[in-house]
Symmetry: C3
């Protein structure tokens, strides 16, 4: 399978960086009508894949989907339930527009919310631009998989990722039942 | 109609300030048992009307209502559904008291939450007073209308408005389906 | 009764510090599988009891419970409904692990959320450690009792308490229907 190949390839490449127990096995989902129709290049998704690889994550899969709510929720549900993924990062669909459905799709599937990550993204990037406060991204856990909504622009996505980057490895380790809570 | 007159009057006065596409057409609702019974002057509502006019908003209507939950929810629902309003700002009823029902009334009518605006208000005004953390205000979208809960005191209302002021025009433009996401 | 004795004892000791109207009558609940089985000392709970006494609170009761969700929710419901308590502080169970159920237990019993206190805890302690953003603690009101989730580590608990400490007395006074909103 392509997905399996990508995963193993990434594992081979990155397995020396962080211990196996806390390896981030990530899917990046670009949520954008324009990108899904091929009308715009998916720079945000590509940028997040690069940033995840830099922190030692395996990229299990990448997806580009439209802003439709129910198909996105179903996509998140299926991916979180697979068992070989512990992080799903979405980019796009977090604004105030009528087609911005990513937070609602995420809320439909998560069993437990983890608001601190998106709060921190908004509050830290507020130092760069007041526009960060209109991002409606949510974060939570579905089937031991952490789902985090990042904004859609490549710049806002990179800035948001920089905020959550220091805790991703630890977060993923905790999901798996590692109860050593470190400094938290 | 009085409402129509007020709207057109404000439009004539302010239409040069911001482009028509993103004109803020606002209702200010003061939620206060004391003000609704005429026992206290509505300084918060008056102050917010002034601040909105300063940023070029049309004031479509102002209302003073009691802290009763269900009538307030119904009021918000009707106003958001009218189609000629894109912003409802409430002041009051966001505290911890038994009659502070504004967040619950708002949560009943919004289809999508936009937590970043109230988070930013609380976190920025926390620099002035720790009391900002007990404001329970919420923000969200109902029928393409943004509803924002501001605290009840004139000072806290003004300070909260100053935080969200830079994004109001852009937020209202996005609600209407303008998908150009600027720096967000 | 032991509980009554503890309450009266604390009242005698602390009643000179803050006026009767806003006396904090608190229960501290340590949520920890290990502590509830006696495998670990409850340093967090002990530390919070000390900090509460320092601000003049009466400690009505302390409890150590497991991470089981439904029993914890029932415990919170019963305590909030008793009428002689206006503050419940929990410590533990706010992380991302499969047994971290405290926020969900709290969400099941609160009638109204007060997100500002936990937002402020996360954002202020973010200056000390990025790990603060993975705390999922919630805060809200059940039967005129404020319930606040603090993290489980003694250090994070103390740091979180320091953030909310300035508003606890005022918050508890408001719960009781004191509608004088001070600077809020």
């Amino acid at each position: 399978m392509d997905q399996e190949g990508a995963r193993l390839g990434a594992a081979t490449e990155n397995s020396r960086i962080i211990p196996m127990a806390s390896v981030i096995r990530a899917v990046v989902i670009t949520v954008s009508d324009a990108c899904s129709r091929g009308e715009r290049q998916d720079k945000s998704g590509e940028s997040l894949v690069e940033l995840l690889i830099e922190v030692g994550a395996e990229i299990v899969e990448t997806k580009i989907v439209s802003d439709d709510l129910e198909p996105l929720a179903e996509q998140l549900r299926v991916l979180a339930g697979r068992g070989d993924i512990n992080l799903i990062i979405t980019t796009g669909g977090t604004g105030l527009g009528p087609r911005d459905n990513t937070p609602e799709a995420t809320l439909r599937v998560i069993e437990r919310e983890a608001p601190g990550l998106v709060e921190a993204m908004r509050m830290e990037t507020l130092k760069n631009t007041p526009m960060s406060m209109i991002s409606r991204g949510v974060c939570g856990i579905c089937s031991a998989t952490l789902i985090i909504n990042l904004p859609g622009s490549p710049k806002a996505g990179r800035e948001g990722f920089a905020v959550i980057k220091p805790v991703l490895g630890h977060a993923v380790a905790l999901l798996g039942g590692d109860t050593h809570h470190a400094a938290q």
